[in-house]
Amino acid sequence: MMSKHFQSCIPIQKEWDIVAARQQGRDIAKKIGFGSVDQARIATAISELARNIYLYANKGQICFDYLEDMEHKGIKILALDEGPGISDISKVMEDGYTTSGGLGAGLPGIKRLMDHFDIDSEEGKGTEVIIEKWLR
């Protein structure tokens, strides 16, 4: 299970968990040294991912990890659920596509907020989204 490689995880089951996850993400981002604008971007991306889990999968988790290479630091976030999965990923990555009928920023929006975005999903099995942001 992917989440074993991550530093810490927050389960997403109740509505309040969405706030807990984004606050945790914000704290970590602050610790790494991200400015206030990037902190907002990271926290919002986490909020969107957590909300997706809460709305569509009922249960899942958001995991955090620190990134570090020779010159840069960053944050890595995993959003994992065992929900219904996405049958057509390319459709979901289209701008403007939304199933909840709301403003639903959706996955393309989350992608724009971060530096890296990766999604893996299988119908009936679940979905895994990994996002990263590097400190410039």
Binding site: T44, D95, L103
Partner: protein, 118 residues
Amino acid sequence: MRIPILKLHNYLLISIQTELDDKTAIQFQEDLLNKIHETWATGVVIDLTSVEIVDSYIAKILGDVVSMSDLMGAKVVLTGIQPAVAMTLIDLGIHLKDVPTALDLEQGLIKLRQELEE
């Protein structure tokens, strides 16, 4: 935890001081509409200076508040949206085009008057 709504003549003033979670936001929407109904207020200023994170859901609730209040005869102006919040919303593709905005409470009241005169 409910968000306090203050009354100033025909206007309602709200300063959101806390991190907005879903429940609080929905409750606020309800409280505001009830207050508009009670007081026959014609203008509302919602100040978001202390709000650091607005995701798509909260943005939708705020947008809806504006439309719903309008239906009830009150104009709403959002003030004090922080740069970090604005940039994040733009990145998400959320422009809140139909929502009047102003820099602060003062400008917000001026804007309200303009909106109400139209």
